[in-house]
């Protein structure tokens, strides 16, 4: 059941060169007291320089766990990568020593976390936390590192950076804190940034500002960006392609506009239908019935089958492979054609 997605769609088809990051058949499990939770079950995706991949899914879909496995910050134990490859700039990260991976973390790939207040150290100044990147990775002096920190804060448009460099995280507003997180990720101009729900904890107006800033900086530095989110609204404007995850698998992958126009998986369709729309004001909002599966007991066959309006017998027995829909699209549904037409 793990070979299902192996020779499926190559989302890079049509594009030249090898991708910056390529995740192949990644499996991650959490060995807990209650049993083994299979959080990631054969994920494949890739990101090129300058490209934005949005990974979409409910909580528990494995989107964050995949990101943590890429960064090498999985809580282990209980989390273990059991299978797969993570090729980054031509090297399989899973084969590197912890020391080698540490050098890559922060310098070549960086991560932006969801809640900046809890993700920044409450007892250290932002200047210290920003400067630490330069001091540790480049051996810079304390003074030079602080100058760099001020520069970075300017770069992410934090007003009065020079005066605020010695402030603590709690003295900033939510949006400003997230800018500091972005500045920290950007510090060493990495080639890949993973943003794990970067705007979830923010007000809607601030969300847009932070997203715009992130997109702008990505263009400027020509970085690959993996944007993890459950918010379809955030995705539409910034992403190039989308991978929709469910129960640790990618169920659909497509260029962003094609997916919005014509989903090829019932789950994606359900997600799109549950977005409130102005032209349907007053009507009851659609919701996907049921709950995300328990990762300790993933349903047999297609994991989505208990919630799927189109489920047939085959869905309860056979795990669908990621069928190529077009050159650049894939859907892991036995009835992708019907869904596409539907």
């Amino acid at each position: 059941m793990t070979t299902t997605t192996e020779k499926s769609v190559n989302p890079q088809a049509g594009k030249a060169g090898t991708p910056l990051l390529e995740v192949r058949d990644l499996h991650v499990e959490f060995r807990t007291r209650d049993g083994v939770a299979k959080a990631v079950n054969g994920v494949n995706y890739s990101v090129s320089a300058g490209e934005t991949l949005a990974v979409l899914g409910e909580s528990g879909s494995g989107k964050s766990v995949t990101a943590q496995a890429i960064m090498g910050i999985l809580d282990s134990p209980p989390g273990f990568v059991t299978q797969g490859q993570i090729n980054f700039q031509g090297r399989d990260l899973l084969k590197l020593s912890e020391k080698e991976r540490r050098r890559i973390r922060g310098a070549k790939m960086a991560m932006i976390f969801q809640d900046a207040l809890s993700s920044l150290n409450p007892v250290l100044t932002v200047g210290y936390q920003l400067g630490e990147m330069f001091r540790v990775h480049q051996g810079m002096s304390r003074k030079d590192a602080k100058a760099k920190a001020i520069e970075l804060m300017d770069r992410v448009r934090i007003p009065a950076a020079r005066e605020r460099v010695n402030d603590y995280p709690h003295q900033f507003s939510g949006g400003m804190r997230q800018r500091i997180m972005i500045a920290m990720a950007l510090a060493l101009e990495p080639d890949l940034i993973i943003a794990d729900e970067p705007t979830t904890a923010l007000d809607v107006t601030v969300q847009a500002q932070v997203m715009d800033l992130l997109a702008e900086l990505q263009r400027e530095y020509h970085m690959g960006l993996i944007l993890i989110t459950h918010d379809l609204g955030v995705v539409a404007d910034v992403a190039d392609k989308i991978a929709v995850m469910y129960a640790g698998r990618i169920v659909e992958t497509a260029p962003v506009h094609e997916l919005y126009k014509q989903p090829a998986h019932p789950y994606t369709r359900g997600l799109l239908d549950s977005i409130p729309r102005l032209d349907q004001k007053g009507q009851e909002l659609y919701a996907i019935k049921g709950l995300p599966p328990n990762l300790l007991r993933i349903p047999s066959g297609c994991a989505f089958n208990p919630r799927c309006p189109m489920a047939q017998d085959v869905c309860r027995t056979d795990i669908p492979v990621l069928h190529p829909v077009t050159d650049s699209r894939g859907s892991a549904c036995h009835f992708w054609k019907e869904t596409l037409d539907g």
């Binding site: 540490r102 922060g106 960086a110 809890s118 993700s119 409450p122 250290l124 990147m133």
Partner: protein, 307 residues
């Protein structure tokens, strides 16, 4: 900040008056100090009256207290029944207890935090299990049992140290008594640090520090430990006072003539001057230690600001 400190210092005045009064009354309630001195024999009325007059015991209680309090401000803490001014007694015993208490404090802080950090980082593994079992045993053993056992084994049987501390209490002889005095607190510090470390280890900011590519050593010392120490510092601060006042058992075992030793003598002889004097200074030590903890809090955790 300055205002805050000033306010805290001013708050000490009523506490100071209250405790002295309370202790004064409690000692008085113990009974007649003259009778206690003479034991079974009835005291000679003339001598008794003379002593009463000398120590103001013939005056009404409230006046005794006022006279005592007046004395304090002129540096006169009264006189012990031995004829020695209480202030001299304190000057002799406080340095000894201070040395013992600080030795214990350093042992408990350094060993306790180190042990707690290691077990917190390796929670559930062998090191942790052993450390936790060890602290549980230490907590369960009464201090005097531990004290006498170690004194017997190290001091008498194997004779690697002097069984009792010599006059003047040199620092090297205070290491074992310090360890005995620190033992229970050390176990608490270990457990407290361990819980705090294990909890903070899962914090988001630690994950961020790892994601930044920092070496593990730096993640632990700069990011994890500082946050984890906040509750530990509270305990250590309040314990500093307890170590000074609670050294009685240890001081008795190792024949150290410190505060606890003299305080006990005072209580036995029902000498209000000695007891009130020593306890008052103890109270002040407590208060100052608490103030220092609160100030250190603000240094450790910038989210706390005093105004």
């Amino acid at each position: 900040m300055g205002r805050y400190v000033l306010r805290r210092l001013l708050q000490m005045i009523p506490v100071f008056i209250g405790t002295t009064l309370l202790i004064f009354l409690m000692v008085h309630a113990l009974g007649d100090p003259i009778a206690a001195r003479f034991g079974d024999k009835a005291p000679d009325p003339v001598v008794a009256a003379q002593i009463r007059a000398e120590f103001n015991l013939d005056k009404p209680l409230w006046l005794q207290y006022v006279l005592y309090f007046k004395g304090i401000f002129t540096g006169d803490f009264g006189t012990a029944f031995t004829g020695e001014p209480v202030i001299d007694l304190m000057a002799r015993s406080w340095p000894v207890t201070l040395k013992l208490g600080l030795t214990a404090f350093v042992i408990e802080a350094v060993v306790g935090i180190a042990l707690g950090l290691v077990s917190g980082l390796r929670r559930g593994r062998l090191t942790d299990t052993v450390a936790m079992a060890f602290t549980l045993i230490v907590i369960s053993i009464p201090v005097f049992v531990l004290g006498f056992t170690l004194q017997y084994l190290l001091g008498v049987k194997w004779a690697v140290i002097r069984p009792t501390v010599s006059y003047g209490a040199p620092l090297n002889e205070l290491i074992l008594p310090g360890l005995v005095l620190a033992s229970v607190s050390l176990a608490y510090v270990t457990r407290l640090t361990r819980t705090s470390v294990a909890e903070n280890l899962r914090a988001d900011y630690v994950r961020t520090a790892v994601a930044k590519g920092l070496p593990r050593r730096r993640v632990v010392t700069q990011h994890l430990l500082r946050n984890s120490l906040i509750p530990v510092v509270t305990f250590l601060g309040t314990d500093l006072g307890a170590l000074m006042g609670g050294a009685l058992v240890t001081e008795t075992i190792f024949n150290i003539q410190g505060v606890g030793y003299n305080l006990m003598q005072g209580v036995r002889r029902q000498e209000s001057a000695t007891v009130v004097g020593f306890v008052t200074v103890l109270v002040i030590v407590y208060l100052v230690a608490n103030l220092l903890v609160d100030l250190l809090y603000a240094v450790l955790d910038p989210r706390i600001r005093y105004a």
